[in-house]
């Protein structure tokens, strides 16, 4: 499923909303997740999962082709932890 398919499906279940409005809502939701993480906060949807930021320390890496050493700065990596309910739904067969 892609984002546009997601929008179509949500719109078909909410005939009182225009597709444009659903588009706006979906982008507000995902932008809100990104903004929260950018502030260094965590965002949790109980039963679904939680998004948080994990720090990767700086390290010396090697260019695999030339073998040259390059330093990689400390980075923030977004992380998703599946919620308990969703995990159970995925493993209930």
């Amino acid at each position: 499923m892609t984002k546009s398919e997601l929008i179509e499906r949500v719109a078909s279940k909410n005939p009182h909303l225009a597709v444009k409005e659903v588009e706006k809502i979906v982008s507000v939701i995902f932008n809100n997740i990104i903004d929260t993480l950018a502030k260094g906060d965590r965002i949790e949807f109980r039963g679904f999962g939680a998004f948080s930021v994990r720090k990767r320390p700086s390290r010396i890496a090697k260019n695999p082709r030339s073998g040259e050493k390059v330093s990689v700065e400390e980075r923030n990596i977004p992380h998703f932890k599946t919620g308990k309910q969703l995990h159970e739904l995925l493993n209930s067969k």
């Binding site: 997601l6 809502i25 939701i29 809100n32 977004p78 599946t82």
Partner: protein, 94 residues
């Protein structure tokens, strides 16, 4: 570090889109439910400029309780892996 919840996101939708709090919270649940249904039916979810939620089937393996050191079999299971988009990575490291 604070934790943002469903209610906080519903508030933002309510303010930015002009829906009632009840409608905002219902539609947020709809969006999450559609994602859940798609994953449960065995398909990945690709959200452009956000990221991809994909399914991985893990084989059973022998693990160890880190506290007691007792070995235990970790059963076969299906997990989700999230790959953030380049856009998201950039914003988070800006």
């Amino acid at each position: 570090m604070k934790t943002v919840t469903r209610a906080d996101v519903a508030d933002v939708i309510c303010k930015e889109v002009g829906l009632s709090r009840k409608d905002a919270s219902d539609i947020l649940d709809n969006v999450l439910d559609e994602i859940v249904q798609e994953l449960v039916s065995g398909n990945d979810v690709k959200l452009s400029s956000f990221g991809t939620l994909s399914l991985r089937d893990k084989k059973p393996r022998v693990g160890r309780n880190p506290k007691t050191g007792v070995e235990a079999e970790i059963s076969e299971r299906r997990v989700i892996s999230f790959k953030p988009s380049q856009t998201m990575r950039k914003i988070i490291n800006a």
